[in-house]
Amino acid sequence: MSVTVEHLTRRFPGGSHPAAEDVSFHAPAGAVTALLGPSGSGKTTVLRAIAGLEEADAGRVSICGEDCTRMPPQRRGVGFVFQGYALFEHLTVRGNVGFGLRVRGVSRKERDARVDELLELVQLQGYGERYPSQLSGGQRQRVAFARALATRPRVLLLDEPFAALDTRVRVELRAWLRELHEQTHVTTLLVTHDQEEALELAQQVVVMHEGRVRQVGTSLEVYDRPATPFVASFIGNANVLRGHVQGGRAALGGLTLDAPGGAPDGARVHAFVRPHEVRIARAVEEPSGAHAVISALTRVGDSVKLSLQLAGRDTLMVHMAHAELEALGLTQGERVAVGIRNARLFVEEHAG
């Protein structure tokens, strides 16, 4: 029940660049794979091509090893959950969930049994006779899931399934979806622009930008070892420092880090530093290291956000526990010594 996409390209007439260009990845059976990227990165186009709702200009889409690039959507055996639900307003919840079965000519008795099963799965027992207009946003979304799952699809495709809901419902439904997946184990592709959603739900993340795949990996991999500057900046918060290589070291506005291997002297580099990977100490205790001034300090609950003014004009955002800051006894305007626990450096030539 895996999905394989090979060299998929889709151009829209009049588009400046292809909506999807040479996209390849493999979504393993039984797992959740997230297609993650900003608006217009082509992730929805890829999902629609897998469903057969877009034709590929080039490339191949296979489901369970079977090439279905030219197969109409009716025969692909996929379940699709649309961003705006796309429920049939003139049908009841039962009618919606049973639609795919009715199309397949499943007998009424069998259909009813299967619909009951699904309503239970999505915790909507007793809502069968209601119309979509009588349901809340979260309930409508669950009907959409039940409808997509009713025909026992080989693959479940989710296009920004929670985008139209408010934050609280979104978090609830995310937990619900994880449970649902643990029960059904259906191969799932999830399109989202919300990195938190992707990192929380998916075993594998495909990061897309401007129609191309930028990185494929587990959620930890794309977070800890971003393959490109785009991935580093898109996933998680990061400070971006610019500088150049000098004698095997990268000089970045007063900070010095190990240069990437093979970077020649004078090469321009970007460094991505997560806010929680900055270490600070009282300046007097580390007089030799890089120094900065605390230009702003905001307490958010039990953590603290600091802005550090480096020797150059760069600012560094730092997150740390409030207790840790208290132990150091630092306040706004003080000089501190700065250390970097971990950073990703990219030489500018292959920036993208």
Binding site: P13, T44, P73
Partner: protein
């Protein structure tokens, strides 16, 4: 997302080419037989005896007097209904009051009354045996079978057009800009003329155009109240009927072609106004 940027129909939900061609064919044939062919027939019949005969029919003294009456009637009823339409729309869109629902329903009423009934009610009110008939004849005022009757019936029939176009616009645009103008010190009239009216001008134009087309073309109601007095109470559409019933077909169609041109111009202006107003249909 990527799909929304370029809205196109994906192949999965598109009909095969032959179905598309068939449906377009059916639509074109239906409109062709019902609308295009009769329209073409009007102009063909009008010019069947050559342009000179057409010009003669149009320049005929009775035709000219019918045109004058139609212009006068349209002028009065469009102005009256235009002022009323904007006022009523402003009232309903901007204020809350008891009976607002009834008022908006009553404005639509003349749309659902048959043109013949629209004429009949004025006969019953102002006719010789009508409610006010005795009083009117005592004071030697003629309304029915005279110009005032024609104007009144036309105004009744075209009553809702402007209000119907302007009201939804005013409602959808809200009153924030008016409120802003008020806080800047504008008076009620200044708000109305400087803020409200410019915002609805294309809808107003659209309503006025439709109102005018109907006013100039109204037949049933006017036919009942006019008495068909040639040169006096004969409007252009009534004149078409008279010529037609006299078997002067070329003349009837020549005059009808004028009205058809008016209809085509109306459709053209309507399209422009719709586009300016922002894609409303």
């Amino acid at each position: 997302m990527s799909g929304a940027a370029t809205r196109r129909v994906p192949s999965a939900v598109r009909e095969p080419a032959w179905v598309r061609v068939l449906l377009i064919g059916v639509a074109v044939a239906f409109l062709g037989l019902l609308v295009v062919v009769p329209l073409v027939a009007v102009f063909r019949e009008a010019l069947s005896r050559g342009p000179a005969a057409w010009l003669d029919a149009v320049r005929d003294e009775e035709t000219l007097s019918a045109i004058r009456l139609t212009l006068l009637t349209a002028c009065v009823s469009v102005t009256a209904n235009g002022v009323f339409g904007v006022t009523a729309a402003w009232l309903i869109a901007r204020y809350d009051f008891v009976g607002k629902g009834v008022l908006s329903a009553l404005i639509d009423l003349p749309f659902s009354v048959s043109p013949v009934l629209s004429g009949l009610i004025f006969v019953l009110l102002f006719g010789r045996q009508g409610l006010l008939g005795p009083w009117l004849s005592a004071h030697d005022v003629r309304i029915i079978f005279a110009v005032p009757g024609v104007v009144l019936a036309t105004t009744f029939v075209t009553f809702p057009f402007v209000a119907k176009e302007v009201l939804p616009l005013m409602q959808s645009q809200g009153s924030q800009e008016e409120e802003a103008a008020l806080t800047l010190g504008a008076s009620g009239w200044q708000v109305f003329l400087g803020v409200t009216l410019p915002k609805v001008k294309w809808g107003l134009l659209y309503g006025v155009i439709l109102c005018n087309a109907r006013a100039m073309g109204e037949f049933g109601a006017v036919s009942v109240v006019s008495g068909h007095v040639r040169g006096l109470t004969n409007t252009v559409p009534l004149h078409v009927e008279i010529l037609y019933n006299e078997y002067n077909f070329a003349g009837a169609f020549a005059v009808a072609s004028l009205l058809s041109l008016l209809a085509l111009v109306t459709l053209g202006v309507k399209k422009v106004a719709e586009r300016r107003q922002g894609g409303r249909t």
